[in-house]
């Protein structure tokens, strides 16, 4: 570690020393923004409480790892002030994996703990509602345990479908009780954006309670990743958030590159930024289109798709694919961009702002639209942070957090861009912020194109078979929907020991029940639409 770096790591060093002293934890600064903490189960809760009060207000992710005799639970906690991410490892005995729940400290822990329970059987004592979340209640076993047998469930073997209880029990109203009605929105419904399901308790048309039920698109991607080699996982990440696949590729590639210590050539870094921002534009256009459809404005839907088409054409030119690109890969890019591609991007850069003017005219002169969105589903900034909300949704509540600036990856520090925020925190703000982010992305792409260096797009010395050294890496990127993180654990073999995906939409959706009650159905629907969810990423 040279002198310059040690100065940079001042904050990390301080935190590590403090934690080591107070909680007899093993703590060491790993790199800028990262502090690795290992703590005993007995003093874990005090440590968590301490961190919570010391400004670690964002619970990024909770991960469970099966280590054989032991289970490990990893907490990723972020402090915005000095931009430090504490990675707290706690080991639990495999036969009795119990640990205190941290829901009382971070509300965001709710779904993460449920998932860890679901997948690894870790029991979080004090959790208000510890149920399975992705798998059905009647599922047997915890699939991410290493001793889990990949074989059909008992109901399948016995040919008894009735044992397969996929239904989440909807509490029936008591006899004679006619005040409330339970409306089951989804999993098949025109505005659930996939197979989301909202069990909604209504009084008239007023929403009293909403419970999102997820898991209908669960494909066990985290489990699949454990049985694939590192490069084989890239196309699987495409299938997470399938409308911004490029961002998923990037997030995963960064994690493996950190594990391997691969330095990506500069040209590849620049192209990655361009591609990621193009993907953001495509995603936000898709959001605007879907949002219009939910409002009954089908024209906007078609316009959104038309504009998105331009981005898809550009991405197709580089990767040959229109949706699942598999283009950004470990060590760089699959291949260089075709000749003249930069010019096509430049044409797009000029064309899009002109078209976006139409959107602005359409929406902001439309009284009906404004009346529908203004003041609907207000999410207070404190609550938003507490609930682990990230991305445009958080920035719409006036919290200026953007990983491209806070924990820069790739070559983002070289570009001048603004972290756009809106103060209102309502559905309108969440809409406006996306429109503004498109302009910022265009601005970034322009700068990146101007400075685009020549050279290779693939790092040298990337072996055919990747065997990263033992260790773990947690890479976070600002995906179009929020904080997308990959936690990759390597045991030195060609296949990862564990891949954990922190999906932004999963966390943003988990926040939804906390701020949508008291609305009428139409408000709730557009409020739901403004989260911008993709089930592929939520259910994984």
């Amino acid at each position: 570690m040279d002198a310059e770096q040690s100065v940079e790591l001042e904050a990390e060093q301080k935190l590590a020393e403090e934690l080591a002293e107070r909680f007899s934890a093993e703590a060491e600064p790993k790199r800028r923004h990262r502090v690795d903490v290992r703590v005993d189960r007995s003093s874990f809760y005090q440590l968590a409480e301490h961190l919570r009060h010391a400004g670690f207000d964002h619970l990024s992710c909770i991960t469970g790892v099966d280590l054989g005799e032991k289970l490990e639970v990893v907490y990723h906690l972020w402090r915005q002030r000095d931009r430090v991410l504490a990675e707290v490892h706690v080991e639990l005995p495999a036969e009795k994996p119990e640990i205190e729940s941290v829901v009382s400290l971070w509300k965001a822990a709710d779904w993460h703990e449920r998932e860890t329970y679901d997948m690894l059987g870790v029991v979080f004592t004090g959790h208000p509602d510890l149920r399975r979340i992705l798998l059905p209640e009647s599922f047997q076993g915890h699939p991410l345990r290493k001793d889990f047998k990949l074989e059909p469930q008992p109901w399948y073997r016995q040919g008894r479908a009735e044992l397969w209880e996929t239904e989440v029990r909807v509490e029936a109203a008591e006899d004679g009780e006619t005040e409330t009605m339970v409306l089951n929105i989804g999993p098949q419904h025109p505005s659930t954006h996939g197979v989301a399901r909202l069990v909604t308790t209504l009084s008239g048309e007023t929403v009293l309670k909403v419970e999102p039920v997820i898991g209908y698109l669960h494909r066990g991607i985290e489990k699949i990743c454990e049985n694939r080699t590192y490069p084989q996982i890239v196309p699987i990440t495409d299938r997470l958030d399938y409308i911004s696949a490029m961002a998923n590729n990037l997030g995963y590639a960064l994690a493996v590159e950190e594990l391997m210590g691969i330095k990506v050539p500069e040209r590849a870094e620049y192209l990655r930024v361009i591609l990621a921002e193009l993907q953001r534009i495509a995603n936000h256009l898709m959001f605007i289109a879907a949002f219009g459809a939910d409002l009954g404005a089908w024209t906007v839907m078609m316009y959104g798709f038309r504009e998105r088409e331009m981005v898809l054409d550009l991405l197709e030119q580089v990767s040959g694919q229109r949706l699942l690109y598999n283009y950004i890969t470990i060590g760089g890019l699959r291949q260089d961009v075709p000749q003249g591609w930069e010019d096509n991007v430049r044409i797009f850069l000029q064309e899009l702002p002109r078209r976006l003017k139409d959107y602005e005219r359409y929406f902001f002169n439309n009284e009906i639209f404004l009346r529908r969105c203004r003041g609907v589903g207000v999410l207070e900034p404190e609550l938003a942070i507490e609930l682990g909300v990230t991305g445009p949704m958080l920035r719409a509540s006036g919290v200026a957090r953007d990983l491209r600036r806070d924990e820069p990856y790739s070559v983002y520090p070289k570009f001048d861009f603004e972290v756009v925020t809106e103060q209102e925190g309502d559905t309108l703000a969440r809409f406006v912020i996306r429109l503004k982010e498109i302009y910022e992305s265009l601005h970034i792409i322009e700068q990146a194109l101007d400075d685009l260096p020549e050279g290779e797009v693939m790092a040298e010395k990337v072996p055919k078979v990747l065997r990263p050294p033992k260790g773990h890496a947690y890479s976070r990127i600002e995906s179009p929907k929020g904080e997308l993180a990959f936690y990759v654990v390597s045991d030195g073999s060609p296949k990862p020991y564990r891949v954990r995906i922190r999906s932004p939409a999963f966390c943003n959706l988990s926040a939804f029940p906390h701020y949508c009650t008291g609305e009428i159905i139409p408000d709730m629907i557009i409020n739901f639409a403004s989260i911008d969810i993709v089930m592929g990423e939520i259910d994984r």
Partner: protein, 343 residues
């Protein structure tokens, strides 16, 4: 006796003519709506079946006819099955009192406008039957919204007609059209849209709400209530609801033309056509239909442009906006007419 047979025959011809006219228009409308909306959406719309996709409605019909007719297990079968038929019939009724040419009317009722207002609200019952009979929560919510919407917009609708009726002094639609036959300087038509601009705006808004079209398509707002009251319907029963909906569309536009846009009168053209003998009816019908389609196109354009309103905004607009405006218009018309000596 022969007189009775003659009058029955005449009525029968009228009924058949009305159904034929409406059906043809509805078939054309489904094509036109898809085509117009597609163009607004920067799409092509139907273009496979026949020239310009003109045979698409027939293909649609065939498709719907061959679809399975599903009745939900827990539905109220009688109500469920009756609802689409009722919706279809109730939609036809008001058309009887609207003429598309002088004398070209199924029943020139002396209380024509009143009759139309009365039977137009019947279709709400059919929708409520469908909503209740389906035993589906989305249907029920959609049905309730329809009831609320009809109630809120029926009143301004009727009140806005009142101004026109007061000027003409008759409830017959034939008389109302005839009252708009003259023109200033022979070219500027004396249509009631110019006498009653407020009433026109109220009527236009209310009639869109009655038709349940964007921005007032809350009863079947698909992003919220899947398809509203006809969520559970399939095949021909669904087709009947769609048919009824398009009949509403035709009738509403025809009524608008009758009340405010001079019916089959067009300055210069219709007076000239008077000398053509029987051919004058052709001209009249052509003028009427052209105007009707102008209104229909306008409403399609609106659908392509606007978003859906919120439930409470819809009710607020009806009760707090349109109703006072309609009442004000009635009073204003009364005052003006009185000052002019009951002209």
């Amino acid at each position: 006796m022969s007189e009775l047979v003659w009058s029955i025959l005449k009525a029968l011809v009228g009924v058949v003519a009305v159904i034929l006219f409406l059906s043809l228009n509805v078939l054309f409308l489904t094509w036109m709506e898809r085509k117009v909306i597609a163009r607004i959406h920067v799409r092509y719309g139907p273009n496979r079946a026949g020239p310009f996709g003109l045979l698409q409605p027939i293909a649609d019909m065939l498709k719907l006819l061959t679809k399975e007719d599903i009745v939900p297990e827990k539905a109220d079968r009688i109500v469920f099955n009756l609802a689409p038929i009722m919706a279809f019939l109730f939609a036809l009724l008001p058309a009887a009192a609207i003429g598309i040419g002088s004398g070209l009317i199924a029943a020139d009722l002396p209380a024509g406008v009143l009759y139309i207002a009365a039977v137009a609200s019947l279709s709400t019952i059919a929708v409520l039957m469908a909503a209740w009979g389906s035993n589906n929560k989305y249907s029920l919510l959609g049905g309730m919204r329809t009831a609320a919407q009809s109630l809120s917009y029926e009143i301004p609708l009727v009140l806005s007609m009142l101004g026109v009726v007061a000027i003409v002094g008759s409830l017959s639609t034939q008389d109302i059209v005839e009252a708009q036959s003259s023109a200033w300087f022979g070219i500027i038509p004396k249509w009631f849209i110019f006498y009653q601009p407020i009433a026109f705006i109220v009527f236009l808004s209310a009639v869109v709400a009655e038709m349940g079209r964007i921005p007032f398509d809350l009863p079947e707002s698909e992003s919220e209530l899947v398809a509203g009251f006809h969520t559970e319907y399939s095949g021909m029963k669904f087709a009947m609801f769609m048919f009824a909906e398009y009949i509403h569309f035709v009738v509403g536009s025809a009524l608008l033309v009758t009340l405010f846009l001079g019916g089959w009168h067009l300055p210069v053209v219709t007076p000239l056509a008077e000398s053509l003998g029987v051919l004058k009816y052709v001209v009249q019908v052509a003028v009427f239909v052209a105007k009707m389609y102008a209104v229909i196109f306008l409403l399609m354009w609106v659908r392509g442009t606007l978003t859906r309103t919120k439930v409470n905004d819809m009710l607020g607009f009806g009760w707090k906006g349109l109703l006072p405006l309609a009442l004000f218009n009635v009073v204003l018309t009364g005052v003006v007419l009185t000052l002019r000596g009951g002209a």
